[in-house]
């Protein structure tokens, strides 16, 4: 087992809205090892971004958060605003689905990367000269194989392609060297060949700097090539957790089975895709029992009454009464 970096215990998150309060995440537990790559997979609204934001210390103002998140031993849920700001810039870094959200649209790339160097150095009580910063930034951009770094530095985010913007965001991570990188559907706006380049870069950050990476995606095939461990979310619950390879090769939870079978792998002539009937659960009108029971073909007597906890089976944990 790698050294423990993050330990999430009984994390519950509710949102207050004008239509009332509803709970999204429910008593989530997860440990993240130093240098580990974990994927979080689930359909839209399953709670993936909520988990990412809370872990990155970016809890929305209307969120009610319970439980604890120990990062290097300190519970970040109890941090003061000042400590949290410091935490966000140094230990954790989040990449968003729309990379333009990570950049300031009215400042050129040089300005933003120089600012990143200054933030890092200020934390280490160093004052960096502009010359040194420029050398470092250009070295980083060259490493990322951005053509003609000097000219890129003069440009504004909207003048770059999606793949280039995402590489600028990666450059920020390379400069800040956080211990944990959270990437929330970072490749949705990218083409497949550029996505593959991006995954390569993430792998390098992981192997060269030992950065832990949480990769959030709705695409289980993408999770397959971007992580060692896989966490499947359904309706705000972790429903399966284990080695990525094992889960994809032999999913156990009926929802994960449906998810894997719904991915086209063969041709229409070999077999039809299996699709999961029904629609995802609502948080506003929570179901009793297992959140998946109205869509589950293997439903048991008690499934609509009592919600199963995480059950350890063989190489993983599964939230399903079938494995009791």
């Amino acid at each position: 087992m790698k050294n423990l970096l993050v330990e999430i215990e009984n994390l519950s998150v509710s949102y207050r809205t004008i239509m009332g309060e509803y709970q999204v995440l429910d008593k989530l537990n997860l440990s993240i090892g130093a240098g580990e790559r974990i994927s979080v997979v689930g359909e839209s609204a399953s709670g993936k971004s909520t988990l990412g934001h809370i872990l990155a210390g970016m809890s929305p103002p209307n969120a009610k958060v319970e439980g604890s998140i120990k990062f290097d031993g300190d519970n970040i849920l109890q941090f003061t605003e000042k400590r949290l700001t410091n935490f966000r810039g140094s230990k954790v870094f989040m990449i968003f689905q729309n990379p333009l959200n990570s950049l300031n649209p009215v400042k050129n790339i040089w300005h933003q990367l120089f600012e990143t160097v200054r933030i890092r150095d200020a934390k280490n009580s160093i004052k960096s000269s502009e010359d040194d910063a420029r050398k470092e930034v250009i070295a980083v951009l060259t490493d990322l194989r951005l053509p003609d770094p000097e000219s890129i530095l003069k440009r504004y985010p909207h003048e770059l392609s999606g793949g280039q913007v995402q590489r600028i965001v990666i450059a920020m991570a390379l400069i800040l060297k956080p211990k944990l990188l959270i990437a929330d559907e970072p490749t949705t706006a990218l083409d497949v060949t550029i996505q593959a380049q991006f995954l390569d870069l993430l792998k390098k950050l992981n192997s060269d700097l030992g950065m832990s990476i949480i990769f959030i995606t709705h695409d289980i095939a993408l999770a397959n090539s971007s992580s060692e461990r896989l966490l499947v979310l359904y309706g705000g619950r972790v429903i399966e957790l284990g080695q990525t390879e094992n889960i994809i090769r032999r999913p156990m939870h009926p929802y994960t089975i449906g998810l894997v079978e719904s991915i086209p792998a063969g041709t229409k002539n070999s077999s039809r895709l299996v699709s999961i009937p029904g629609s995802p659960p609502s948080y506003k009108h929570p179901l009793s029992g297992c959140k998946f029971h109205p869509r589950c073909a293997k439903i048991l007597e008690k499934c609509d009454k009592i919600e199963p906890g995480m059950i350890s089976v063989e190489d993983r944990q599964v939230r399903c009464w079938l494995y009791e």
Binding site: V192, I220, A221, P264, A265, K268, L273
Partner: protein, 313 residues
């Protein structure tokens, strides 16, 4: 071979829209996006043809020319054997429908489903509407008075497909119809599409950037790169033994559930305002030769597949 559409050396240039005032004042010549270049292709009746390629490769442009939403800049287009001019558009439109990627924006959110379903016909034909909705697994009585905003993304896309069916077209152009959906919804829609294609003997152009989806439902695959057709032929052949270096790299960069390893070509998609000379893929191709930079490779047939590459030529 019975073809429904044939394109001969079709070009499509768009006026580049981002022209600042200063640029317009200083530069006399307008700037064009070379979206489609010398595109020659025929679409076989009753088959599913997947158009694959990355964004900006010209997939939607081809779909729009087929749907008569855009005019080609030059070249000839034949529909059911007859050369097309703009006066034929109303007739052609009766025989085809187009379904777009984002159903939420392509359907008027304020219209009721019964109105939306009547729009393509111009009048309300209860039998046809009921039949079309039934083909996509929806009940007329349940959805007739609903508005798109009351339905889920998957249901809206089913409405869009039912709407495409209602005029009993021969050809449906599907532009990334499942890209905005979660996997489990995507599977439902793909199955519905296959069923109705077989049931009504339809011809599909299926535009997608997802190779796994193309593999699942296509009989024929056309691979586009930066406005050029680079490989075209039977789906099985192209997927099991891709010949064009771009197709090879494209297939290797797609994550799948069966393999964890992916690899990527270097570099970025080129500009279509000043496309590379010679082979448009030469800036990223691992096998580039001197000839590739200067001369454009022609599309030649090798083992039942059309390929545009100087290798082995």
């Amino acid at each position: 071979m019975n073809e429904i559409y044939r394109f001969e050396s079709v070009k499509k240039y768009y006026l580049a829209s981002r022209r600042g005032l200063l640029e317009m004042a200083l530069r006399k010549k307008p700037v064009y996006v070379h979206a489609l270049e010398d595109f020659s292709f025929s679409l076989e009746t009753g088959k599913v043809t997947a158009m694959v390629g990355e964004s900006g490769s010209g997939k939607t442009t081809i779909g729009k020319i087929m749907a008569t939403i855009e005019n080609p800049t030059s070249g000839s287009v034949y529909f059911k054997g007859t050369k097309v001019s703009s006066k034929d558009y109303p007739r052609i439109r009766k025989d085809l429908s187009m379904v777009f990627q984002n159903p939420a924006t392509s359907l008027n959110p304020r219209m009721r489903i019964s109105e939306l379903m009547s729009e393509p016909l111009g009048n309300f034909d209860k039998d046809k509407v009921e039949e079309s909705l039934q083909s996509v697994g929806l009940s007329f009585d349940e959805v007739r008075n609903k508005q798109p905003k009351e339905l889920s993304g998957g249901q809206i896309q089913r409405i869009a497909i039912a709407r495409a069916l209602v005029k009993h077209p021969d050809l449906i152009i599907l532009d990334e119809p499942t890209s905005a959906l979660d996997e489990s919804m995507q599977a439902q829609i793909l199955n519905i599409l296959i069923d109705i294609q077989e049931q009504f003997h339809l011809t599909y152009i299926f535009i997608t950037h997802n190779i796994s989806v193309a593999k699942y439902l296509a009989d024929t695959i056309s691979v586009l790169y930066a406005g050029k057709l680079v490989e075209n032929g039977p789906a099985q052949k192209i997927l099991s033994a891709p010949q064009h270096p771009y197709t090879q790299l494209l297939i290797k960069s797609v994550p799948t559930v069966s393999s964890r390893e992916i690899s990527a070509p270097t570099g970025d998609v080129p500009s279509l305002i000043n496309p590379p000379t010679g082979c448009r893929f030469h800036t990223r191709c691992p096998f580039v030769m001197e000839k590739c930079r200067q001369e454009e490779p022609p599309l030649v047939v090798r083992d039942e597949v059309e390929v545009a590459c100087w290798l082995d030529a």
